[in-house]
Symmetry: C2
Subunit: 351 residues, 2 copies
Amino acid sequence: MTRKPALAVVGATGGAGAVLLQILSQHADVWGEIRLVASARSAGRKLVVRGEETEVLALGEEALDGVDVAVFLVPEQVAAQWAPVAAAKGVVVVDTSSAFRMDPDVPLVVPEVNPHAVRLRPRGIVASPHCVTLALIVAVGALHAEYGLSGLVVSTYQAVSGAGRAGVETLRAQLSLVAGTELGTGPGDVRRTVGEDTGPFAAPVALNVVPWSGEPADGGWSSEELGLREETRKVLGLPRLAVAATCVRVPVVTTHSVSVHATFENEVEVARAHEILATAPGVVLLDDPAAGEFPTPADAVGTDPAWVGRVRRSPDDPYALDLFVCGDNLRKGSALNAAQIAELAAGEFSG
Amino acid sequence: MTRKPALAVVGATGGAGAVLLQILSQHADVWGEIRLVASARSAGRKLVVRGEETEVLALGEEALDGVDVAVFLVPEQVAAQWAPVAAAKGVVVVDTSSAFRMDPDVPLVVPEVNPHAVRLRPRGIVASPHCVTLALIVAVGALHAEYGLSGLVVSTYQAVSGAGRAGVETLRAQLSLVAGTELGTGPGDVRRTVGEDTGPFAAPVALNVVPWSGEPADGGWSSEELGLREETRKVLGLPRLAVAATCVRVPVVTTHSVSVHATFENEVEVARAHEILATAPGVVLLDDPAAGEFPTPADAVGTDPAWVGRVRRSPDDPYALDLFVCGDNLRKGSALNAAQIAELAAGEFSG
């Protein structure tokens, strides 16, 4: 009988942790022990995974002993400190923070696109991309495999839960203030009503869209926009890919959407692109607008795949496809991709 | 003393009509008589313009007699029927509907971009572009004049009032149902709560974005997406310009936003682009994200100019600029552009 590997979930008590525990309960046969770990503040709490109440341990050396694979769902600084500690103990670390994504000795993995990269991990750490990259990369990766990607222009419609619980609470509080009013027609009326405190966003997000997400970076770009460029290049193995991204927050709770204009080395056809997307793992094609079929975040939320629709070939450029993609930022955009990477790593221990 | 020309506002009782009456009251010295016209149903109502109560006349031959310029703010079918009747009487018709926009004998005019085209009107009709085109064309036109535009990739964030009063009522009713709830995290929960009737939209618009606006057109494109392409080409006089547009409805009451990726014949520089935009008529530049300065619809609504920010040069392409533009779809996007065209035409009668 083969030994099943032991998994630690570091950051089990947060929002992504809750989603990961759900996913682990659905894939109950992969893991032996599942250990739940969080900050000292949350230690002692009990959470249910695979139907069993499990006590949360405080993050520390001991909590990582005897673990084969650890999924880190914690802020960047915590990951930067503790992932190397775990790796030094021989634990395969799957990190969902930005701490290691651009480290050349850390593979950045999307199992549908570059699964083999999991094995090339000189630091013992595997990184999972940012939720915005994950929203589009599976669909774009499938098209790249057929046509050879040469450039991307993307504009995002990012849900507030990408900014964590505070993001969701901010939108809900603002919606309570604006619903049932005539607001949204006078200059600044929304801003005056929701007040100065706009939570994790740079402007009110209810009855508004906010074309800024992340930190200021070079040339007027935001860190998220440049991050999307760097991560897409790394996952696809295209270090010179042209990527122009505009990251915009919208009043949606969960599920990021991305409007994608992709140019390729080869001429494209919508019928063939439909075939590719309809059979690509992790993608659901929903593309018949005349029949009301296109992806929206309200329909994609809570599901695993990337929902893809609005696939069109440019009338001006037979090498370009436009498409619209929706992906749940808490599932594929976070916990699910990490779980998939962890399961790839688990294969090294089992059997 | 010069005679001041007579203006008819056809469709005075609608939402765009109300905005136009405001604008006319602010530019009180341009016109002699201002005649208000609407459907027979609204005839006899009294509206205030330039501080005077004015009775609304029923649309018909008589209501157009003695008029120099008529602004039509009516549905396409009404414009298609009555604009030629008015033109046959020698009235200069400024039409805001889609009825004549692509007619080769009807100029499509944005006064900041192609004012001289007003005089070339073989049918006596001048058309005003769709609100989405108007949101971006002034900023893009100013950059084109300097650099020579070669291509556009745009994704929109369109306000619900672009779909008229029914659009606003639909969003407000849906917001009342979702505010104060935990909705937006489960598959289909928003759709189940707002019900089957999604008003003028193809899906729920509260806590959602809807990547479909317009009618089905060739190749999976929507009529609005292809219309944006055709109108931009016509206004800029670039009949072969490459334009790829994705039109998306968002839960914003008024003011369309557009994420623009523009490529040019000449190399671009952000500092020079800032100068161009800061001095372009009809544009306000707001571009210092580190200081919280970028345009949002909640801030631009109710104002006349196009608000432009997030101006960036692609790190991969020195011929490309990315920018974000917000424009009030009821002001510049409709009544204001029509008023500006009408004032250009008025110049032919005065003096």
